[in-house]
């Protein structure tokens, strides 16, 4: 009898709810498109100002080419490989360092989150090293790592390591006790709890750490390339600066901006794929 009372009510509740949840859905979408459009409009206005400031001589200087010249240089450089090859090599180095730094950061973050003693010992060291700016450590590092890929990969790994570590640790510490208790009441063992509960519960935090890291990784790779060695887009930027080819220099900067944007987008897409439950909110 209770069942018969419940069943139609469920059906009613369900239809009412799905209808209710579909109504507000298009609104954020429209808002999203709206902010997108005005964002692009703002960029277009800024670019138009850039073009005018150079063409009309508002900004005088041999290192201030019109934006159209930058676009042409970007087009040529991409097709000819002069720009695209260094960019690819930069991305390669970045991904290598990023992968190493993030793996170590996540692993250590899990450990620090899980064990109070390790946290007490390791955290002060981490907090001491973390604020050191990367450009400051590149020259002394050259003595140990040379000037080529090892140096850059190391520096990028170092830069990626900290956000991965800190976010992972915070994620582990923030796992809700109710989830752990749920695993306990179903008599799930320690290792399965770590694997099946703690790790997935920490994933969103890890992901946000990895996303911070990917932005940093690109910047740090380029900075390291600008300081040392003769490879990658960072070196290309400096080289074009010294060769008095500001159009090519800004073209490289433009490519970097696009790369950063694309990386972030790809990351978000991957995140949505891997963590569909993150779609709420």
């Amino acid at each position: 009898m209770g069942q018969s009372l419940a069943a139609p009510a469920v059906a009613r509740a369900t239809t009412a709810r799905s209808a209710g949840s579909q109504n507000p859905a298009p609104r954020p979408r429209r808002n999203w498109a709206h902010t997108r459009a005005s964002g692009f409009a703002l960029i277009l206005v800024l670019l138009a100002l850039w073009e005018a400031s150079s063409r009309l001589g508002w900004v005088q200087g041999q290192s201030w080419p019109p934006f159209s010249a930058v676009l042409v240089a970007a087009w040529r450089g991409t097709l000819g490989g002069e720009l695209s090859l260094p960019l690819l090599s930069t991305i390669g180095r970045m991904l290598a360092g990023y992968a190493i730094g993030c793996s170590l950061g996540v692993a250590l973050g899990l450990l620090l989150g899980a064990n109070r003693w390790i946290r007490w010992i390791v955290l002060p060291v981490v907090e001491m090293i973390r604020p050191i700016p990367i450009p400051a450590i590149v020259p002394p590092l050259i003595l140990f790592l040379g000037i080529d890929d090892a140096l850059k990969v190391f520096v990028v790994a170092l830069a990626s390591f900290f956000p991965a570590l800190i976010n992972t640790m915070a994620g582990v510490l923030g796992v809700d006790d109710v989830l752990l208790q749920t695993a306990r009441t179903f008599r799930v063992g320690w290792s399965r709890t770590v694997l099946r509960v703690v790790l997935p519960a920490t994933l969103p935090a890890i992901a946000s750490g990895l996303r911070v890291a990917i932005g940093l990784a690109l910047v740090v790779t380029v900075v390291a390339e600008m300081i040392a060695g003769s490879a990658g887009i960072g070196y290309y930027i400096v080289q074009m600066q010294y060769a008095l080819r500001p159009d090519a220099m800004y073209a490289a900067v433009l490519c970097l901006a696009v790369t950063g944007y694309v990386l972030n987008r790809l990351f978000l897409i991957g995140e949505a794929r891997l963590m569909p439950w993150m779609g709420r909110g």
Binding site: Q60, G61, Q62, S63, W64, E82, L85, P86, P139, I142, L143, F144, L145, G146, I147, D148, M226, I227, A228, G229, S230, A231, Y235, V238, Q239, M240, Q241, Y242, A243, L244, R245
Partner: protein, 316 residues
């Protein structure tokens, strides 16, 4: 870029059949600064002089130029092109370096193209006029800074009453125009471009004014490399000297321009406007001694450096 260079090298190797052809070439890694100073090195590469000695020279440009000596010490490079002040500073710090070959030298005043540039209407003429003003240099505590100070002192100014602001060479022109600095010590090709415009004016050539004959830059190796591979070093210096001779004999040869453009990435039409200075065949320790004295005078060095020990015999 690396591909392009090795392509050029292969091309040169095919064009110039040398005795070492087909044999295993010894690889030498050289750190360079992509400026005209190292053109003879690239001439020697392009014309196969290194290949004839059995060497394969692999160049790594370092645009800032700050990583040459650290790279040498780390073993990333075998040889590095560096300026005399950096070399002397490193020597003072106890880094065992050897000057193995000449690079750049201001032999005659008319070949000294680097200059202190001001806005024409600024009225600045001498070091005295620069007191209380701001001078742009690429790097503080280095060669440009040193000779700027020395010139200011030589023309009646107190170099300590001048502010030195670090501006990268390519941005110096804009910095002077926008009055971020009152004067800028500019080098080729930037100085040539700037002073072609009526608003700018050269007021001095500090190198030749302070120390005609100054050895500005040289090729370096670590003492241990020179000791362990004397043959390699000797071959390198021999081939480089042939490059210098060819360069000096072909200063106005249009064939030079694509070579320079190849490693500086400066476009050929711009290079055509430059006058190329001849390169030295030997290093003069006496000139390096004078630089040492200047460095002591301007508190870059605490005590003299043993220049005689620093310069390897094959550089003389």
């Amino acid at each position: 870029m690396l591909n392009r260079r090795s392509l050029l090298q292969t091309g040169a190797a095919l064009a110039v059949a040398g005795p070492a052809r087909g044999a295993e070439l010894e690889r030498v890694r050289v750190s360079i600064i992509p400026i005209n100073d190292v053109t003879p090195l690239f001439v020697a590469i392009e014309r196969g002089f290194f290949r004839n000695e059995g060497l394969l020279v692999d160049t790594s440009p370092s645009a800032g130029g700050a990583t040459g000596i650290p790279g040498l010490v780390a073993g990333s490079y075998d040889i590095a092109y560096g300026n005399v002040v950096s070399t002397l500073l490193a020597a003072q710090q106890g880094i065992e370096l050897r000057v193995i070959a000449p690079g750049t030298k201001i032999q005659e005043a008319r070949n000294d193209h680097s200059a202190i540039v001001v806005r024409r209407e600024s009225g600045i003429r001498s070091g005295k006029d620069l007191e209380g003003k701001v001078v742009g240099v690429n790097t503080r505590n280095n060669v440009i800074w040193l000779y700027a100070r020395a010139w200011i002192k030589a023309t009646g100014g107190n170099p300590d009453r001048v502010t030195y602001k670090e501006i990268p060479h390519p941005q110096m022109e804009d910095a002077i125009r926008q009055k971020q600095v009152d004067a800028g010590y500019m080098v080729v090709p930037y100085v040539t471009l700037a002073t072609a415009k009526p608003e700018f004016e050269k007021i001095a050539h500090p190198y030749s004014a302070v120390q005609l004959g100054v050895d500005v830059g040289q090729y370096l190796a670590t003492a241990s490399f020179v000791q362990s591979k004397p043959e390699t070093v000797a071959k390198f210096v021999r081939a480089l000297r042939r490059g210098i001779e060819w360069y000096n004999a072909n200063l106005t040869n249009p064939d030079l321009l694509p070579i320079i453009s190849g490693f500086t990435k400066i476009e050929v039409p711009l290079l055509k406007t430059l006058t190329l200075p001849p390169a030295p065949l030997v290093v003069e320790p006496a000139q390096m001694e004078r630089t040492t004295q200047l460095m002591i005078e301007h508190r870059l060095l605490r005590k003299p450096v043993d220049v005689k020990a620093l310069v390897a015999p094959m550089a003389l």
